[in-house]
């Protein structure tokens, strides 16, 4: 049984990141995309905490930034949901493929 090091954390974060990106790239539901964004943010949070633990022990920089990020993610989610509601009001759906008025 190998000792769990930084690399493992990074791999998990990378997998999570890829899942998030994949979700964003494939979901047509705005809420789904929002979930993908959360996954990406959380993978970043894992990275921050992991780097703090292994690269700069004794300091709390990474944790503090991760907490900030969670707060920001919450704010961002509130904002994004608001946008979703407005999109729904305008086009009666949250399918982002339908909200393509600004295409070139």
């Amino acid at each position: 049984m190998e000792h769990i090091g930084l690399t493992h954390y990074l791999i998990v974060a990378a997998v999570l990141f890829c899942c998030g990106i994949f979700t964003m790239a494939t979901k047509r539901n705005a809420i789904g995309i929002l979930i993908g964004v959360e996954l990406v943010l959380n993978s970043t949070g894992i990275n921050l905490v992991a780097f703090d633990r292994y690269m700069g022990p004794g300091r709390l920089d990474g944790q503090i930034v991760a907490i900030f990020m969670i707060v920001l993610a919450a704010a961002e989610t509130a904002l994004a949901v608001g946008i979703c509601i407005n999109v729904y009001k305008n086009i009666a759906t949250v399918d982002v493929d339908m909200a393509s008025q600004l295409r070139g």
Partner: protein, 791 residues
């Protein structure tokens, strides 16, 4: 009356028709028929007639001295300066003005009145709109201009009103402008008058430049002074056709009169002017406007040199003779009267040229009355006969139109000089025509005796000129009162001016440059050629013939056209003026006018070459001539009437036989000596020929140049437009715009509007950047990373 009362009344009489004119212009259509006509009768002529009557009444109450005062102190207003010449607006107030003013207003009033009756029977619609009010508007404007002309004290204003009456004549001749004949007639009248006016303008310019004034009285005074001193216009050595500059001035002014009074070379318009409505023919082309030319000559008589007067006499003599002959063969009733008018105007002009100033103007006034009446009578006939003007189709109208027939006969008698020689019984021409002839006889046969002992001039001549007895006492009052207005303050010879306008004006103690100068001119007056006297005498026999012919063909004999005869009738509205004017003919032959003109003669002419059976000079000789000549002239009407009745008494048979015998002579007269044709050939055709040449030049030279230039410009424009602009300038800007569009098109394809695509782009982009960074910097080991991050 005192102050400027006369002037105010006269000016009111001038302004009233002017107001009437504008009223009719703006409100004429609303007034309609016949109220527009009544507006002109009351405002246009009724008021002036009332004013004229008041002035005449007042004037008759003045004695010679106060008349002289009034003339001298007549209203003048400094209006403007023309260079150094000051233009004075004012009223020429003397007996001639009063007489003319009354004559014009009186005759015009009754013709206006007649017009209402005349126009009521005429259709006056053009394109569905009535032009009835126009007729009366023009008549009012004419009244304004004619009265203004009579009142003008200044040649400039006289000229302005002169042109205005010409305009009115033009407008009224062409009243039926939708027909062809009146159109040509009005143009002919206007253009012929322009020819005369050209001479008038030359005369005016000479007066302006040489005499330095345009006021009638000042001009005459300066003219006399210059003659006495040999300065100014007499200092010029310029001659043309053998005439001195002074003569050219007189002839130039007379040219205007030749146009208006239709004298020989310019007479062609008057017969054609008969195309206008008959009241217009009566008023303008018989009684008043054509008399304006005679009036002008009478007014500028003082500016005429002996040569100029000789020219005037010659033109008058030619006119009176030639036109009387044409009148003999006319068959149109109005044309016949028109030619008789021409002939009578010739008598007036001839009289003025001879020096029979008083008789000529007296003839002017009586002629105005009876010729207006004759024309109105002819209008009545034409109206009654269904617009038939050919006398050959009339005849026997006396029973149908008794009033017209009798008044017409009165006119015929008056123009023929009917009277009983040796007594005072007569009509119109009887009093004036033989006096003109008596003066002409003295000038032609008995002149040397009188002119030669004039040569001494100075005070000597005063004995030759008998003063007017009545004026003797009163004239002293004028001098003693010493109330003089010197019009232009810096005149060196103000004295001369004042004396010149006194009743007899030739008092030895007071005579200045005037009397001296004029007497000198007088002494140079040549003998009149004898042919002039003979022609005038012969014409006195022709006149009764053609007038009686005209009357007989119309009113006597058997009706020649049943249709015309059946229709004939007369209307009271129209024969009232006839009766009034017939009475006017009687009155004017005996009362008022002769005295007024004789009174004016002494003031208006400074009297050197004014000769008459009473007044002025040479009374003895002229009376002697008159006493036997009166039988020759006074009997003329008997001979003329007899011949006319013999020829036309039994229809037209004998006339047509004579016509066959006379042959070419008759044809010559019928074609008016071919003068109209000559003018047509020379002027109209000539003008056309010049126009054709000009057109050829225009087409082949001017147009060619301009067309070539235009073509070149067009080509240049095509080049610059198609090549430079479209391909050059436009190309650059269009290219830039196209590029922008293409680039934009290309760019917008990436903006798909799908979030998933954007995410993929972002991820792909970041991946590429990371891969590139790794490739460039290499992959760092964990230790290196730790070292890098270590504080």
């Amino acid at each position: 009356m005192n102050g400027h009362t006369y002037e105010i009344f006269l000016a009111l009489g001038v302004l009233s028709p002017f107001i009437s004119f504008w009223l009719l212009v703006f409100f004429g259509p609303k007034l309609g028929k016949p109220w527009a006509g009544w507006c002109a009768v009351i405002l246009g002529m009724g008021v002036p007639l009332a004013m004229a009557s008041i002035v005449l009444w007042g004037w008759l109450g003045e004695d010679a001295a106060s008349r002289a005062m009034l003339t001298e102190h007549a209203f003048r207003y400094h209006w403007a300066n023309l260079g150094t010449v000051s233009i004075l607006v004012g009223v020429k107030l003397d007996s001639l003005t009063v007489a003319m003013y009354f004559m014009v207003t009186f005759i015009a009033f009754w013709i206006f009145f007649f017009s209402i009756g005349y126009m009521s029977g005429h259709s006056d619609e053009v394109a569905g709109k009535s032009k009835y009010h126009r007729f009366f508007a023009y008549l009012s404007l004419f009244a304004f201009s004619m009265l203004g002309l009579v009142l003008s004290s200044n040649l400039l204003f006289l000229f302005i009103f002169w042109e205005l009456v010409g305009l009115c004549s033009y407008l009224l001749i062409g009243y039926y402008f939708h027909e062809r004949v009146p159109q040509y007639a009005q143009m002919k009248a206007f253009i012929t008058n322009r020819v005369g006016d050209f001479g008038f303008i030359i005369g005016l310019m000479l007066v302006y430049f040489q005499l330095g004034t345009l006021d009638l009285d000042d001009a005459a005074r300066i003219f006399a002074e210059q003659y006495a001193a040999g300065t100014g216009i007499f200092a010029s050595s310029f001659t043309m056709f053998g005439w001195s500059l002074a003569t050219i001035m007189g002839v130039g002014l007379f040219c205007g009169a030749m146009g208006k009074s239709a004298q020989f070379p310019l007479h062609v318009w008057l017969p054609d002017a008969m195309a206008g409505p008959t009241p217009v023919s009566a008023l303008i082309h018989a009684a008043t406007m054509v008399a304006a030319g005679v009036y002008l000559v009478a007014r500028v008589f003082r500016l005429m040199t002996p040569e100029a007067l000789m020219f005037v006499a010659a033109i008058g003599c030619i006119t009176l003779f030639l036109m009387a002959l044409i009148a003999m063969v006319q068959t149109d009733i109005k044309k016949c009267l028109a030619y008789s008018t021409l002939s009578q105007l010739g008598y007036m002009i001839f009289g003025l040229g001879c020096g029979a100033w008083i008789a000529a103007l007296f003839h002017l006034i009586t002629h105005a009355f009876f010729k207006a009446m004759l024309f109105l009578g002819s209008g009545q006939v034409i109206e009654g006969c269904h617009h038939e003007q050919d006398m050959r189709k009339m005849g026997g109208l006396m029973k149908k139109m008794p009033v017209t027939g009798i008044t017409f006969l009165v006119g015929v008698l008056a123009i023929s000089g009917f009277g009983i020689a040796g007594t005072k019984i007569g009509l119109g021409g009887f009093f004036s025509k033989d006096e003109i002839l008596a003066v002409a006889w003295v000038r032609a046969f008995d002149w040397d005796d009188y002119s030669h002992h004039e040569a001494g001039a100075g005070g000597h001549h005063a004995s030759v000129i008998p003063p007017i007895p009545a004026a003797e006492d009163s004239s002293n009052d004028v001098f003693s009162s010493e109330k003089r207005i010197v019009l232009v303050s810096d005149q060196p010879h103000g004295d001369t001016h004042t004396t010149s306008v006194t009743p007899h004006g030739l008092k030895p103690s007071a005579h200045g440059g005037d009397a001296h100068g004029r007497a000198g001119i007088f002494s140079q007056t040549p003998t009149l050629p004898k042919w002039m006297f003979y022609l005038a005498l012969f014409t006195a026999y022709v006149t009764p013939f053609y007038m009686m012919r005209c009357w007989w063909m119309t009113f006597m004999g058997k009706p020649r056209d049943d249709h015309v005869h059946e229709h004939a009738h007369e209307s009271p509205m129209m024969f009232v003026p006839l009766v009034v004017l017939a009475i006017g003919t009687f009155v004017s032959s005996y009362f008022l006018f002769r005295d007024l003109i004789a009174d004016a003669a002494t003031q208006a002419t400074i009297a050197p070459l004014v000769m008459a059976t009473d007044g002025a000079i040479h009374t003895t000789a002229i009376n002697a001539a008159h006493s036997w000549l009166i039988y020759g002239v006074g009997g003329a009407f008997i001979v003329g009437f007899a011949i006319a009745i013999v020829i036309y008494g039994r229809g037209l048979g004998m006339a047509s036989r004579i016509k066959r015998i006379a042959g070419p002579l008759h044809t010559l007269l019928e074609n008016k000596y071919y003068i109209d044709d000559l003018y047509h050939l020379v002027w109209v055709k000539g003008c056309m020929a010049v126009a054709h040449i000009a057109r050829f030049f225009d087409t082949w030279v001017v147009d060619l140049i301009f067309n070539t230039l235009a073509k070149l410009t067009e080509r240049l424009a095509a080049f610059s437009g198609l090549v430079l602009d479209q391909h050059g300038v436009d190309g650059i800007y269009n290219g830039m715009a196209d590029t922008a569009i293409n680039v934009g098109d290309a760019m917008r394809r990436s903006q798909t509007g799908r979030i998933r695509n954007y995410v993929l782009f972002a991820v792909g982009g970041v991946t590429i950047i990371v891969v590139l960074m790794l490739a460039y910097w290499g992959v760092a080991s964990p230790e290196q990373t730790v070292a890098m991050l270590a504080p």
